[in-house]
Symmetry: C2
Amino acid sequence: MGRVVAAMSMSLDGFVADEYDGVAELFGWYQNGEVEVPGADPRWVFHVTPASEGYLRPALTSAGALICGRRLFENTDGWGGRHPAGCPVFVVSHSVPGGWPREDSETSFYTDPIAALEAAQKTAGERVVSVSTPTLTQQYLDAGLLDEITVSLVPVLLGTGTSFFGDQVVAPIRLSDPRVIEGRGVTHLTYRVLR
Amino acid sequence: MGRVVAAMSMSLDGFVADEYDGVAELFGWYQNGEVEVPGADPRWVFHVTPASEGYLRPALTSAGALICGRRLFENTDGWGGRHPAGCPVFVVSHSVPGGWPREDSETSFYTDPIAALEAAQKTAGERVVSVSTPTLTQQYLDAGLLDEITVSLVPVLLGTGTSFFGDQVVAPIRLSDPRVIEGRGVTHLTYRVLR
């Protein structure tokens, strides 16, 4: 099976969104460079440094499924039905939002995070299952189901907001030394979860 | 005046000590290499990788004063009267602990963190003032008095403990891209605080 990878942009003090769910301070690196990296849909075009391209392009093309929580799904309006990585999206939610599922979108809904992961892995096959929500990352970490963590570490202190790792209960969890890519306004750190 | 630098070993989830004030998971890199780096006192000898030497040796030799809080001072037993960096120590504490100050130790006590910093800067001259306590780091950050942050980022998730940046109130605080040194069991990231 493909790897299960959690990837988020995070402030140096551990937040993946500010207290109003804003990500402007964290997502600058997606548009601060000269290399154009297209998403799966023409609506999504990134402009990154050559260094960040070395992280972003493989991340976008390797994903075979993406798992997210309801809040991210709502905040992005379901990515308009098509995620930048172009892969099917598995949303963990207590209920199915109005208007969904849609025939024109490979988006499905699960109440159980583990069932969502199993379905995503089946769809992804040998490709990566990308986890894009902190609470799910923590649950999969606690359950020993996460293979890799990429932190795109942004040089800012937000003081408060949504924590990437705040609700984890199993500890310590040891990681490998990271693969490091030094971008502009971001340092991409990719760790393997050790078991 | 010399730079005011906060330097701590921190887990990927933002903790500088576990819930019992333990640092075993975070300080492994001080003794996991083949290069001997002596502290100012023969009791302190570090064995680090060549990469970490590139961070540690200058950090030890550049410090002209060190500021810490009462808890770290107690936990290290006042470093036996002499800090590994060999510089005078300025302790911020509501009261002076029994047995202190000692004639054989350049350790002084202040109730006011800003007064402690001023005294440390006067002593350090052009040398670095090193801040070694999270709450003081946060206060100096909030007051705009911190020049640099070095995070020795350790690949572990502790889940809970003492947060490096937890009580900061002024935000966002933007930083430069870091100088990166990739060690073994640690990634040293040095940021300038932007104003």
